[in-house]
């Protein structure tokens, strides 16, 4: 996407993600950042949906860590149900989310085990994407000139590609079913937005007085970047990161659903859905329903947290 120099279309406030902090806030970050965090937390707390989202995500992560220990999934061990029903059985007291068709696995057990993989992929790929984006954005913003131009055109090009499609192809070509590779592939295509955000922060802050002052007293560039500029870029990055997590959890499920992602024999939310598809004629709706709800719940929670963070870091909102 080439940048339009003629005009910036107005964007309604609800959609603004990269809020430019006010000058007052900039100074606070540099000098006494504790206050800013306290302020942000106070604002975040008033956002009830974001608090609920935080609770949901915390529960999810706890489940992802502890769950598989309590309800281990073994590919080789196949459960012996009290009654053999090829189509699986709808939710009951023993199996709150029902049983799958075929091998009659407990759907709840699958969803719990899937949470580990799906959350791991969502958050780790986000971390990689944000890391790459921060570095590239910093380089572009700090060095400027030709380097900046080349990097930003690269971002334009990457954003012109249908990314889900590219990830799909890359997963197929380079993936081998391991979670690690999937994380790397998703991370490698999640950095563009972050790099733009970081770069714009650099451009807007680089010329500000306190950076000039820091440079004048002989502070080294590295210190300026880490002490002064990146903390300012933090809040828009966090908001963008929440969107990346949500997007990657959905995309990963889709890629695995198509069989190009994580090894089909391990339970991820996408794989559970993929296996369910062949049983549609038997009508066992509970099989795809619950992993899907798990995805929706996670993405909703992450989006709410993102909303809360955006308000919390927005200098225009009231504490």
């Amino acid at each position: 996407m080439t940048q339009n120099v003629e005009h910036q279309p107005p964007v309604p406030p609800a959609e603004i993600t990269d809020t430019v902090p006010s000058a007052a806030e900039d100074y606070e970050v540099g000098l006494k950042s504790l206050n800013q965090w306290q302020l942000a937390w106070r604002k975040f707390r008033r956002h009830h949906l974001a608090l609920i989202g935080l609770g949901v995500i915390a529960t999810m992560i706890a489940t992802a860590i502890v769950g598989p220990i309590l309800m281990p999934f073994e590919f080789t061990t196949i459960p012996l149900p009290d009654e053999i029903v090829y189509a699986g059985r709808p939710p009951s007291l023993q199996h709150v989310m029902g049983e799958t068709g075929g091998l009659q696995r407990d759907v709840f057990e699958l969803v719990v085990n899937g949470a580990r993989t799906s959350l791991l992929i969502g958050f780790s790929s986000m971390a990689i994407g944000v890391f790459i984006g921060t570095i590239l954005g910093s380089v572009a913003g700090f060095v400027g000139g030709v380097v900046d131009n080349v990097l930003m055109r690269l971002v334009d090009i990457m954003l012109s590609l249908p990314i889900l499609f590219v990830i799909l192809v890359a997963s197929r070509f380079f993936g081998n079913g391991s979670v690690g590779l999937v994380i790397i592939i998703f991370g490698a295509f999640s950095w563009m937005g972050t790099s733009r955000l970081v770069r714009s922060q650099f451009l807007s802050i680089r010329e500000r007085e306190f950076v000039e002052a820091a440079r004048a007293v002989g502070v080294r560039d590295r210190r300026i970047i880490f002490r002064h500029i990146l903390p300012n870029a933090f809040s828009p990055i966090v908001v963008a990161a929440s969107l990346i997590v949500a997007g990657n959890i959905i995309s990963e499920a889709f890629v695995s659903f198509l069989g190009f992602g994580v090894n089909p024999t391990s339970p991820t939310w996408g794989n559970i859905l993929s296996n369910a598809l062949t049983f549609i004629p038997l009508g066992n709706w509970w099989w795809p329903l619950f992993p899907g709800l798990a995805i929706i719940l996670t993405v909703l929670a992450v989006n709410f947290i993102g909303d809360g963070l955006r308000d919390a870091f927005d200098p225009r909102s009231r504490a």
Binding site: M1, H7, S160, L161
Partner: protein, 365 residues
């Protein structure tokens, strides 16, 4: 105006070139390459492999390969002559001038490894179903998103607005393919089997869509054929539009609320205009300015969404072609599809920019 369009088109060219390089690089970096199919086949001799490599140009340095694939270089030229096309002019010029027919620039995306057909034929054949699906979805998406958003904004905080908010949040968090699966369970499962679960036509009565027999059938049974497609469209279209409607109805609502709070809306009311005129002429016209841009930028994602939807509903379009090609390592098709979709993204951005200038009199080029 003309100047602006020209400049924007010129700005788009380097990006498009970059896209081709990246597409080429991704596929080049893939393990195996086009020969991967034969790598394990003991009956293929080294001589056959070599002739395959030569036929595909795989024995050339990578820049040459790229140049040939792009149509910048003449594959039969020698030395610097590779730059010159058969008609004696630079090879990259359009076919009538250069006489060149090879490469992306001349509409030649190579041949499918799988079927041996020209990639362009496969893409064109798959494009019609995708346009039917995406076009229907687009109309529904825009209409519903605007109606929902405007109505929610006018009746802010009403029960309807709150319902629309819940729908937007959930719809936005919903994986497209999961919605598709659940819809199939709901409407094509054993319980309530009222809509087809997949395909584009009823296979028992209609020839496959797009085949010559189909068009004969279509000509003699037009109403039934259209009805058949419409029936098959219902579930995929719903699947495709829910996410977009969820996101954009919020966007429209926010834009409309902003517009409703403007001074000119108060002026319009002070003029004694009916509420309908105030809302739908004065406020909506302004509220739609950013919406048009946003929709322009999102149209390409409709096609990405179509990949997902087509897979689930076995819709014989670009999406299905892509997934099949990915599964079969059919490089030329993947490169063709990637390029075509990227060009569409760039064009959609361009269009959104130009359209924005047309509908907003304040923008001067």
């Amino acid at each position: 105006m003309m100047k602006f369009v020209t400049r924007r088109v010129l700005q788009a060219i380097p990006v498009l070139l970059g896209v081709t390089v990246v597409v080429y690089a991704i596929l080049l970096a893939a393990p195996g390459g086009p020969e991967a199919k034969f790598a394990q086949n003991p009956r293929i001799t080294q001589a056959q492999k070599d002739s395959f490599r030569k036929a595909w140009g795989l024995d050339q340095p990578i820049p040459i390969q790229y140049g040939r694939w792009m149509g910048i270089l003449n594959p039969s030229g020698e030395g610097l002559g590779v730059l010159i096309g058969p008609a004696g002019l630079p090879n990259f010029l359009p076919t009538p001038l250069s006489g060149a027919t090879n490469g992306v620039l001349h509409g030649d995306f190579g041949y499918s490894i799988d079927s041996g057909e020209p990639v362009s034929n496969r893409i064109i054949r798959a494009a019609l179903p995708t346009f039917i699906l995406a076009g229907t979805a687009l109309v529904l998406w825009i209409v519903v998103a605007i109606v929902l958003g405007v109505y929610a904004a006018i009746h802010r905080y009403s029960l309807f607005d709150q319902g629309a908010t819940v729908f937007a949040y959930v719809g936005y968090a919903m994986p497209t393919f999961w919605l598709g699966i659940m819809l199939i369970f709901a409407f094509s499962g054993p319980g309530l089997n009222i809509l087809p679960a997949g395909g584009m036509t009823e296979t028992r009565i209609s020839p496959p869509f797009g085949s010559p027999e189909y068009w004969v059938y279509f000509g003699s049974n037009t109403p039934q054929a259209l009805g058949d497609i419409a029936k098959h469209l219902v579930l995929p279209v719903i699947t495709l539009v829910v996410v977009n409607i969820a996101g954009d109805s919020r966007f429209v609502r926010a834009s409309m609320l902003e517009s409703l709070g403007q001074d000119y809306v108060r002026t319009a009311r002070a003029k004694g205009l009916p509420a309908r005129t105030v809302n739908f002429k004065h406020a909506l016209r302004n509220a739609l300015l950013p919406v048009v841009t946003n929709i322009g930028l999102e149209i390409p994602f409709l096609f990405t969404g179509a990949i997902v939807t087509e897979t689930i509903f076995s819709w014989p379009g670009i999406g299905k072609l892509t997934i099949d090609a990915t599964r079969d390592f059919d490089y030329p098709i993947l490169m063709g599809v990637l390029l075509v979709t990227s060009v569409m993204v760039v064009l959609a951005n361009l269009l959104a920019d130009i359209l924005y200038g047309v509908i907003d009199p304040r923008i001067k080029y």
